[in-house]
């Protein structure tokens, strides 16, 4: 079952990168970057998954040798990564708003004053 997660995460990565390479619209590039982010997040969460494990919320007294739970570290990493991803998206969108004001277009093939 978990294999499906890995396939999905790399598929998301591929779609995201495909989006950033082929789409000329800046908003779509932003969506592509977002998809890449979600792909990696899915990968990290899947890495820490143990089939049949419970949520990793325990007090010291409840914890025994038999307790079986999913790995909490990847979940913490994913949370951090989601927050960072949200910041990246916000940053990209704010830049896009400013770019639209200055260049009056969202087409990357027209936003190329810096070249050569």
């Amino acid at each position: 079952m978990i294999v499906f997660n890995y396939v999905a995460s790399f598929a998301l990565l591929a779609i995201g990168f495909y989006c950033t390479v082929t789409q000329r619209n800046l908003i779509k590039i932003c969506i592509g970057l977002g998809l890449v982010d979600y792909g990696v997040n899915l990968l990290i969460v899947s890495v820490g998954f143990n089939a049949g494990g419970t949520a990793p919320i325990w007090t010291i007294r409840e914890l025994t040798r038999q307790s079986f739970f999913v790995d909490p570290i990847p979940q913490a990493l994913t949370l951090t990564s989601i927050v960072i991803g949200a910041c990246t998206t916000a940053m990209t969108l704010s830049l896009i708003i400013k770019l639209k004001e200055q260049y009056n277009t969202l087409d990357t093939s027209e936003i190329r004053r810096l070249r050569g």
């Binding site: 990168f17 990290i44 890495v47 990493l77 960072i84 830049l95 896009i96 990357t108 936003i111 810096l114």
Partner: protein, 653 residues
């Protein structure tokens, strides 16, 4: 006392971040208070790093601490660790010096802008993240720092939103930078899935046993991530854009400090953690990437009309040298790479600051408009010449010493392995160095010498507060160049030794028993002797080779073809009279054609027009490659990703 010493690295990171937040709170109302906080926040890390020099470099200690006192339990790291060995401190010291210099410079340079509390908040966050990256001992922390670094650098690049192209440069930097961050995160996820730890020392300890295909792919992703952060070929176009449009103080941070974080990551990854550097295939990969960025970016610099864009391309080229030297895989090569990294930080910082001074005084960075500024800004001109001599590798400045060491390391490597590949690398480096010199002749001609344009008649020298940081860097450029032996002994040898000594790196952090059980062995005693700076015999041989090459080229060239080219000339179709001249007269056309107009400054792009005309196809192809379309840049990145991953699976794994 030792208890306090272990807390110094974390304090230096905290001071910078704390300074950022305090400035955000109080900086708006009181400018004097803001500057005082900035000086304190930028000065304390420098002092702390200097205090650490004695225990780390002279007593060969490794400073470690576990945040919150979470020590490892039965050989497993559960807390976040800070581990400062000589390699980390070497980069930390470099970062601290540059942050302080840039902070002092910014106080005058930025005084015509508004919203400065935001500028300083972002600047201190950027500095803090860079500092955190080089001092951290935890892989995920490194990722977080990389993200803060990218985001603040993007925001600062676009700080002067009305500067032409600022937003565009920031956008491209963001898209390609995000690709790099994604690579690092994917690498972390794959590595964690196999080894179940994020601590660098523990990863190094687990790898000999846990090594498999997935970790090899993880290595490829991490390597790509750090290569993106170094802005190596083919990830380099945004690195040329961002410093062009950012304020000069931020150009310094982006191009001389941030690229070093990537270099640090590559060294740490390849030498300490994965220890793949003894594989010839990886040496090939790193050397080829380095040599390509070295050569392509130095030729790209010839086509530039913007002062800072030209410097930015040279910056990537010089980082290419550093990466080449690291890729050699021997002790001398690593030392040479570190030496050139240090020197590049100093002279590129100096050059960008002089570019900032020119912009501050004239309001222009256009090489075709500027000219003759040496009369108006003699001190800035002198500073620029020191920087230019350093980057072009003229003795006795620091660029010469480190480039010499790189050539020597490459030859030593070629002799030891009798592999012709390393000779080729060395020749490419030499050629790029010559082109760098040529390119800086062009810049100094078109900015500081030549004829002064009437519109800059009233230009004044920049204030002393801006000159002091530049003089400081200029003095450092000379000092580090004059005493290469001392540099090697005090700074470079300990740093390279620590980078290669995984046994000690694991042992200090996780306990010696863990290191012994991991199967990592302590390396033999470190030795990388540099044979004196001046080796007259080598110089004579070099001179002979160059003379032979020149003779060969001039003998084999076709005289008729040359004459035909002289008649056509570059872009002079509007002067049909020239075509009527015979070939002999047309030869002098370039010297006399300018006299028609009163103002006959030779433009920055015209000084090497013959050279550029002969190689016009190459330059046109290169210009088309750097198309300015962000989709193309991501495509290059993606192509590099697939090639490196395939290469790793086929040859390195």
């Amino acid at each position: 006392m030792s208890e306090i010493i272990t807390q110094l690295p974390i304090l230096s990171i905290m001071t910078l971040f704390l300074g950022a937040f305090v400035i955000a709170l109080v900086g708006r109302s009181d400018e004097k208070l803001r500057d005082i906080i900035l000086m304190i926040a930028a000065g304390i890390p420098l002092i702390l790093m200097l205090i650490l020099v004695k225990p780390v470099f002279f007593e060969h200690q490794v400073i470690t601490s576990w945040l919150g006192g979470w020590e490892p339990v039965s050989g497993w790291a559960i807390g976040i660790g800070v581990e400062v060995d000589a390699l980390s401190l070497f980069f930390g010291l470099m970062v601290a010096v540059m942050v302080f210099v840039v902070a002092v410079y910014s106080m005058t340079y930025m005084n015509r802008d508004d919203a400065l509390q935001q500028y300083y908040t972002l600047f201190l966050m950027l500095s803090g993240s860079v500092m955190g990256l080089v001092l951290s001992g935890d892989l995920f922390n490194i990722f977080v720092m990389v993200e803060i670094m990218t985001m603040t650098a993007v925001a600062l690049t676009a700080f002067r939103t009305d500067y032409p192209g600022a937003l565009e440069g920031a956008m491209k930097y963001l898209v390609v930078g995000s690709m790099g961050s994604t690579c690092i995160l994917t690498g972390i996820a794959l590595l964690y899935s196999q080894l179940h730890t994020l601590n660098l020392a523990q990863i190094a300890a687990e790898l000999p046993k846990g090594h498999n295909t997935v970790t090899a792919v993880a290595f490829a992703f991490l390597f790509l991530g750090f290569a993106t952060k170094t802005y190596l070929f083919p990830f380099h176009p945004p690195e040329a854009d961002a410093p062009t449009v950012a304020p000069a103080s931020i150009s310094v941070m982006v191009s001389s400090v941030l690229t070093k974080c990537g270099v640090y990551g590559i060294i740490r990854l390849c030498y300490t953690i994965f220890r793949y550097m003894d594989k010839t295939s990886l040496q090939y990969l790193i050397c080829v990437l380095g040599a390509l960025s070295c050569f392509i970016c130095v030729t790209m610099a010839f086509n530039q009309h913007d002062f800072k864009r030209l410097l930015a391309f040279h910056s990537i080229s010089q980082v290419g040298y550093v990466v080449c030297a690291i890729g050699l895989g021997n002790a001398l090569g690593l030392s040479a790479g570190l030496y050139h990294a240090l020197n590049h930080t100093l002279f590129k910082g100096l050059l960008f600051l002089t570019a900032g001074a020119v912009y501050y005084a004239t309001g222009s960075l256009d090489l075709d408009r500027l000219g003759g500024l040496s009369k108006k800004m003699p001190k800035t001109c002198a500073l620029f010449l020191i920087g230019a001599a350093s980057i072009s590798g003229l003795p006795p400045f620091n660029g010469f010493a480190s480039k010499w060491m790189i050539y020597q390391a490459a030859f030593e490597r070629a002799a030891a392995t009798s592999n012709f590949f390393f000779v080729v690398i060395c020749v490419i480096c030499l050629l790029s160095s010559v082109l760098t010199l040529a390119s800086f002749v062009k810049v100094s001609q078109s900015v500081f010498f030549g004829q002064l344009s009437p519109e800059f008649e009233r230009t004044k020298e920049v204030p002393a507060a801006m000159q002091i940081p530049m003089w400081f860097l200029a003095v450092l450029c000379i000092v580090t160049g004059v005493f290469p032996q001392a540099m090697q002994k005090v700074l470079l040898a300990p740093a390279s030794a620590d980078a290669m000594n995984s046994f000690n790196y694991i042992g200090v952090m996780m306990g010696t028993s863990k290191a012994a059980a991991s199967g990592v062995t302590a390396p033999p005693a470190f030795s990388a002797p540099i044979i004196g700076l001046w080796n007259p015999v080598a110089w004579i041989i070099l001179l002979l080779i160059v003379t032979c090459a020149v003779c060969l080229v001039s003998l084999t060239a076709d005289p008729e073809k040359k004459a035909a080219k002289a008649v056509i000339g570059p872009a002079r179709d509007h002067q049909p009279a020239i075509a009527l001249m015979d070939a002999k007269e047309a030869k002098y056309e370039s010297f006399f054609s300018g006299e028609e107009s009163v103002y006959s400054q030779v433009g920055g792009s015209d000084l090497f027009w013959g050279f550029k005309h002969n190689l016009r196809h190459y330059f046109k192809t290169m210009g088309d490659w750097h198309s300015g379309v962000v989709n193309d840049y991501t495509l290059y990145g993606l192509a590099a990703m697939s090639i490196v991953i395939a290469f790793t699976l086929l040859f390195i794994h």
